[in-house]
Structures are given as structure tokens and as C-alpha cells.
């Protein structure tokens, strides 16, 4: 065996079209959590047995990001607290105005400004979520055309030809379901929650909570359905692939005289190199998906934390409706975080199914 393992891998990498994947690294942007990951580096790391992560680095990066996001959104919290202090003052001054109406009107106007502030920051979070889901599905659609030919080149004909359309369909349906139904439902529910805070009575609170629960239910259903279907499909096609691959190797070993055995062995080597490349690219995809998940997740959770803390601060000042409304807004923002987390989980399951197929034990 004159060929070295790394030589084979280098040749195979050079023959592949990795431009679309290289473009993905630009997509992550400057504030990376995993520093300088490329498919080639990951593959070499796998061969040499190097550790993939530097945990101290990652944790400190995440902490820094979280703190900077908190600092960024603390202005919102301060504004909300100031408005609520004014509301409390107005309530106490109501006797000195003589008439109740003036102070009540002032309170409603202040609630309106709270509503406007909350809606503005919620729209920011909403666009962040939309973009996150969009970029994640674009990433998946860029990874699949690279991963699936690798699967087929390893002899997993059935898996490659069946899984590709299944996963692409699942991603497309999931993406449009999120953008057309689920995310708007959360937005509408938070609009209802805000408008409910204008008066002391609850007009549309139940409706808002129902819409949010419906959104979560829809996402859960989609994720369970698609990831379950893909996983089962992966198991079934894996067995079929094993049959085909074993037949091919057996016939090469036995029907070609003398050199057949060597040929079968060297095919083994080339194929296991393809496996390493596929797993390396799959891992790279996982890193990208996780990075795309973590950046918006940190932003969203920071804003949710600001909402919750503001609700805690203004509760003793004495306005129950505004405090409740901010608390529910925090819950809405957390719901958005949960939705993108579930979406990322589904994409990670897809990648794991692809990485899991032909894990190297087919040909032994």
C-alpha cells in the first residue's frame, strides 16, 4: 500500500467542489465562537486525534457575548422602569388633581408608551429569529449537495438517493411553516398581550396565551414528525446499503482471481477516507448550525432576561397590569428562543443521521 492516508484524503478533498461550504464560513461573521474552523482542519484533527474544542475559550466567548448583549438592551429596561415610576406617581397624585379622570388618562398614555417600546424591541427579536431560521435552512441546503454525493461514493446508494429528497422536503416545509404560521402566531399573541395591558380588565389574554401554545404545539409536531421520519428512513436504508456493499465486496474478492483480494482491501481504505471526509464536513455543518443557533439565542435570552428583571423591579411600584404584561412579553421572547432551538435541534438530527450512515462498519 504505497498511498498514504493523508494523500488519499487530500486528493479526494481537492477533487470536490467545496466553494459553497467555504462561503458558509463568511456567513457566521466576525464574532465566532468556534475560532477558525474549516472542513480541512476538522478532517486533519479527526485523523490525528486532536481535541476539537477549547472549552475555556468557548465558555469565555459566550459569556462575553451575553454580557455585551445585556449592556446593549439595558437601555430598554431603564426606560421601562422610568415610565412605570411615572405611572406610580400619577396614581398617588390622583387626589391632588381633584378629578380621577386626568390621572387615569395619564396612566393609559404611559401604558401606550410602554407598549410602543416593547413592540419595537419585540420586532427586533422577531427579525433576528426569522433571519436565524432562514440562514440555518440555507446552510442545510448548501451542505446537502456536498454530503449526499459523498454518501453515494461510499456505496450508500439507497440512503443517498432516498434521504436527499426527504431531508430537502422536510427543510422546505418546516421553514415555510415557521415563517408563515408559527412566528406570526407568536407575534400576534404578544400584540394581544400588549394591548391587554391598557386596561385593568382582561379582554384578550386567553386568546393570546392560546395562540402562543398553538405555535409551540405546531413546532413540536413538525420537529417530531420530520426528525422521526428521517431517522426511521435512515435506519431502513442503512440495512439495504449494507446488503449492496457486502455483495459488491464479496463478488470482487471472489470472482476476480488473485488481485481481487488486494483490490477489495484498497477499496476499503479509499472508502474509509471518504467516510472521514464526510464526517468532517458533517461536523463542520454541525459547528455552523450551532454557531448560527447560539448567537441569536444569546441575544434573545438577554432581552428576555431584561424583560423579566424589569417586571420584577416594577412590581413593588404598584402597577400590576404593566408588570404582568412585561412578564408575559418575557415569556413570548423565550418562546421564540425555544422555537429556534427546536429548529436547530431538527437540523442537527438530520446531520447526525447523515453522519451516522456508513459509520465505517459496513465494509468490515
Amino acid at each position: 500500500m504505497s498511498l498514504d492516508l493523508e494523500e488519499i484524503i487530500d486528493k479526494q478533498l481537492a477533487s470536490m467542489n467545496l466553494e459553497s461550504i467555504d462561503q458558509l464560513t463568511d456567513l457566521i461573521g466576525k464574532d465566532k465562537i468556534f475560532s477558525d474552523m474549516t472542513p480541512g482542519q476538522i478532517i486533519k484533527g479527526i485523523i490525528n486525534g486532536d481535541p476539537l474544542f477549547n472549552f475555556n475559550n468557548i465558555i469565555s466567548n459566550i459569556l462575553n457575548l451575553f454580557m455585551s448583549e445585556i449592556y446593549g438592551s439595558i437601555v430598554l429596561g431603564v426606560q421601562l422602569v422610568i415610565i412605570c415610576i411615572i405611572i406610580g406617581l400619577l396614581k398617588n397624585l390622583s387626589t391632588s388633581f381633584g378629578d380621577d379622570t386626568v390621572s387615569k388618562l395619564g396612566t393609559v398614555v404611559c401604558s401606550c408608551s410602554v407598549m410602543a417600546l416593547c413592540l419595537k424591541s419585540f420586532m427586533e427579536v422577531y427579525t433576528i429569529c426569522m433571519n436565524a431560521v432562514d440562514t440555518m435552512s440555507v446552510t442545510m441546503q448548501a451542505l446537502l449537495p456536498v454530503l449526499v454525493p459523498l454518501l453515494i461514493s461510499m456505496g450508500n446508494f439507497t440512503s443517498g438517493s432516498i434521504l436527499n429528497p426527504v431531508i430537502v422536503t422536510a427543510i422546505t416545509i418546516f421553514n415555510s411553516a415557521l415563517q408563515r404560521i408559527v412566528m406570526p402566531a407568536v407575534l400576534l399573541s404578544s400584540i394581544f398581550i400588549l394591548v391587554n395591558s391598557l386596561s385593568d380588565r382582561d379582554y384578550v389574554k386567553k386568546l393570546a396565551l392560546f395562540m402562543r401554545a398553538f405555535a409551540i404545539f405546531m413546532v413540536g409536531l413538525c420537529v417530531t414528525l420530520f426528525s422521526g421520519l428521517t431517522a426511521i428512513q435512515g435506519i431502513v436504508t442503512k440495512t439495504a446499503d449494507g446488503m449492496i456493499a457486502k455483495t459488491a465486496r464479496y463478488s470482487m474478492d471472489n470472482f476476480i482471481p488473485i488481485v481481487g483480494g488486494f483490490a477489495a482491501d484498497s477499496i476499503d481504505l479509499v472508502l474509509s477516507c471518504a467516510t472521514i471526509i464526510k464526517n468532517g464536513i458533517g461536523l463542520f455543518g454541525l459547528f455552523i448550525i450551532i454557531t448560527l443557533l447560539i448567537l441569536p439565542l444569546i441575544k434573545i435570552l438577554a432581552i428576555a432576561l431584561v424583560y423579566k428583571i424589569t417586571a420584577i423591579i416594577i412590581e413593588p411600584i404598584g402597577n400590576k397590569t404593566v408588570s404582568d404584561c412585561l412578564n408575559e412579553m418575557g415569556n413570548s421572547v423565550i418562546t421564540l428562543a425555544v422555537i429556534i432551538f427546536l429548529a436547530a435541534t431538527m437540523f442537527i438530527i438530520f446531520l447526525a443521521v447523515i453522519i451516522g450512515i456508513g459509520g465505517g462498519n459496513l465494509w468490515r
Binding site: 393609559v108 394591548v195 391598557l198
Partner: protein, 55 residues
């Protein structure tokens, strides 16, 4: 989608308007009944998509 947007906008405007009007109402014997009528209006607003479904 257009219908849903219009529905939500209507509910939003009606609730904002009613919460202002309720404050400006003169406090008399009639105010209770007026508030009840306002809530009936909001209920009708929430149920308005049903009329499209029934057609």
C-alpha cells in the same frame, strides 16, 4: 394572511379606543351598562372571522 392581519388590527384599535373612552365616560348609573356594551363589541370583533368561515 390578509384576513388575519385585518382581524388583529381591528381588535387592537377597538381595545385601545374603548380603554380611552371608558376613562372619559362620565361616572353615572349608565356607565356600567356602557362598559358591558363595550365588552359585547369586543366579543363581536373577536368572533368576526366566524362569519367568513360560515359563508
Amino acid at each position: 394572511m390578509e384576513i388575519v392581519r385585518e382581524w388583529v388590527r381591528n381588535i387592537f384599535i377597538i381595545i385601545v379606543a374603548i380603554s380611552f373612552v371608558e376613562i372619559l365616560l362620565p361616572s353615572g348609573a349608565m356607565s356600567k351598562y356602557l362598559k358591558f356594551i363595550f365588552s359585547l363589541i369586543i366579543m363581536a370583533m373577536i368572533l368576526s372571522p366566524l362569519s367568513i368561515l360560515l359563508e
